[in-house]
Amino acid sequence: MRHLLSIADLNRADALSILDTAVELARISDAPVKKLPTLRGKTIVNLFFEDSTRTRISFEAAAKRLSADVINFSAKGSSVSKGESLKDTAQTLQAMGADAVIIRHSASGAAQWLADSHWIGGSVINAGDGTHEHPTQALLDAFTIRKHLGSTSGDLKGLHIAIVGDILHSRVARSNVLLLSLLGAEVTLVAPPTLLPMGVQTWPVKVSYDFDSVLPHVDAVMMLRVQQERMQDLFFPTAREYSHFFGLNRDRLSLMKKSSIIMHPGPMNRGLEITAECADSARSVIVEQVANGVSVRMAVLYLLLAGAQQEQGGLLA
């Protein structure tokens, strides 16, 4: 495996090996010296066509803990914003000898397009492409769920997870649906019909419009960011009505199982999809998701970049 573009490219063993590797790397992150020599001499480029400070610094921290050299290439203020094409940018990075390109782009499929283009020889890691996928976010979510609710190894069989909100525009939701179901969890999407994609009935999920009826049964609830702009496109009437039906608040918190956890990929719209009380509650693992992101991304970088790559086969020899 050379790239990480979509969860759909992983099989169960691949996904588990990333999570297992991340478990070990998380321990190293607790050590006094957090740096490993593993990717010494490798050059990793953060190619961000879209602002996302949290994802960028998470990848940057992961790469640096593995001793890779990191170049941040942000579209803002660079030649990209002056109309340079993805092709020219990619060829520039190739000429600089990038071993991996971590790409964040507003266009769905940009990561796959870059990987298939032959403009660059290194690995491509999708750090979020449009409304398509965000595989490392799903991996860190699965890591977090497993840590709290599952066994330390093994899959998520028997767990019930609700993903709530703007599924239609969410790359986090798409990656999570694929990964959580791959790992055996039962996934329920909760959203108004306007924010569910066409053909959602063909996805490996259940769908509900009734948040309250779902909450008592779930082990984890994953709240998605809802952008105010969606209101202009008539996806819901008002922010108030959205919060009323699909926001996580104190009353809904009381419906949840004692052992259940609250997740959010961030950044949060406090007061819209989640109240401060829920976000900061003891059940919230939102801050921990961020920390886990570094371990999971280290695992991905290690598995893709350490060692001679083989064209065929899974992640591990």
Binding site: S108, G109, T131
Partner: protein, 437 residues
């Protein structure tokens, strides 16, 4: 040398017949032609081939004036000849828009000067194809270009009042409005067919209903005002159904389908390769089957290419930033053979009707589409149906390379094309560079 005797082939109706062309006219058809020119003509052995009437495309983007980097009237004429066409219809969405007599005459003259096919300009329905005010339809009709087909293609004539007026107005010169059926508010920012695949890919969906709603509205409108309506590039099963219903009611509507919509589906978008990005979008397998059926039973009257050249930089990018469209002149006949003839859905005779006679009739191109008949202008296409070929984007005659069929093995090799009795293609090669080439 202006006399040619094509020997050994069969006509579209499968009749074994030689065809004698003399001074631009078909003067002999049959075995052992006794016409005096038969002995003086240069003999071309086309045994095993089909002799078809020259193909007529009702929907071609020639890009000139304005985007000569992607195509010119001359380069498109070469591509058309190579694809077996003897007439193309130049869509109006150029820069400037073909919304005045001046622009349509310019395009018409460029076509004449290229001299490889008839180039019939299509006039814009509204000024600047902006959908607000009618263009000078009468002036374009009266110009040297004698425009009869009007279209805002690329944009939908969305305002129902504008559409109604346009349909009414063109009646005075027997014109037809060719509608690009796309409800704009339902397709804002749309990237591909809306369905299970767009949902997985995270590409904004283009619902079938956005096309069907406009088709439904316009067949009712044209029935009300008793004019002529042509639906460009139908892509959905629902659209076919509405047109079938309208025709059964006697409504004056014609429709076209593109070769790519007869073959490709939205599955292709999974590659995120913008070569498959096209307006209207590639639809589902079920839609493709309905389109084939509609073309076979005559619900869909014609095949039109929607040949849409784009420079490499407009396709070598992220899907959502790429241009819509694909070239199609040089592959059209092969794709139709593959999807309609080789599947036994349609005969060669019907193909000749759908790709020559009917489009010429819709466009009122009186010198085209008369079939292989005695005394007709010698617009002739010769195809070897049993010879296959591999599409190579580096070998196209179009100035652009954006074919979705690159690398594909297709049946049916065009052996020769005659335009007004002069060969433009012989031995599958362009023989005439054109007047200004």
């Amino acid at each position: 040398m202006t006399k040619y005797l094509l020997t050994g082939a069969r006509l579209a109706n499968n009749q074994q017949a030689d065809v004698l062309i003399s001074d631009g006219v078909i003067v002999g058809i049959g075995e052992n032609i006794s016409h005096p020119d038969a002995t003086r003509a240069s003999k071309i052995d086309v045994a095993g081939c089909k002799i078809l009437p020259g193909l007529v495309d009702l929907h071609t983007h020639l890009r000139e004036p304005g985007r000569e980097d992607s195509e010119t009237v001359h380069s498109a004429s070469r591509a058309a000849a190579k694809g077996g066409f003897t007439a193309v219809s130049a869509m109006a969405n150029t820069f400037p828009v073909a919304d005045t007599a001046g622009v349509v005459e310019q395009v018409y003259r460029l076509g004449q000067s290229a001299g490889l096919v008839d180039v019939f300009p299509i006039g814009a329905v509204t000024q600047g194809i902006a959908g607000k005010a009618l263009a000078e339809l009468g002036a374009m009709a009266q110009s040297a270009a004698r425009v009869r087909v009007f279209s805002d293609d690329g944009n939908c004539v969305f305002d129902p009042m504008v559409m109604r007026r346009a349909l009414e107005y063109v009646k005075q010169f027997d014109g037809v409005i060719a509608q690009h059926a796309q409800e704009p508010t339902l397709t804002h920012g749309a990237q591909m067919n809306e369905g299970t695949i767009s949902s997985i890919l995270g590409l904004k969906g283009w619902p079938a209903v956005a096309e069907e709603a406009i088709i439904a509205r316009d067949v009712l409108l044209v029935d009300h005002v008793k004019s002529r309506l042509h639906i460009c590039h139908v892509t959905t099963a629902g659209g076919v159904e509405i047109i079938r219903w309208a025709k059964a009611r006697g409504i004056e509507v014609t429709a076209e389908v593109t070769p790519h919509h007869l073959l490709l589906t939205d599955e292709m978008a999974k590659t995120y390769n913008p070569i498959f990005k096209v307006n209207p979008p590639l639809r589902t397998e079920a839609d493709v089957m309905a389109l084939r059926e509609g073309l076979a039973d005559g619900t869909i009257d014609i095949v039109a290419t929607d040949h849409a050249p784009h420079p490499a930089e407009d396709k070598e990018c992220e899907w959502q930033n790429a241009a819509f469209g694909m070239i199609g002149l040089e592959t059209a006949l092969s794709i139709v053979q593959k999807t309609m003839i080789d599947t036994a859905l349609m005969t060669w005779e019907t193909l000749a009707e759908r790709m020559s006679t009917a489009p010429a009739k819709i466009g009122r191109y009186s010198a085209q589409g008369q079939g292989i008949t005695l005394g007709s202008p010698a617009h002739v296409t010769v195809i070897n149906p049993s010879q296959s070929w591999r599409v190579d984007r580096d070998l196209v005659s179009s100035r652009s390379r954006n074919t979705p069929f690159h690398g594909m093995e297709l049946p049916g090799k065009i052996v020769a094309t005659f335009f007004n009795g002069i060969p433009t293609v012989l031995d599958s090669r362009l023989v005439k560079a054109g007047n200004n080439g």
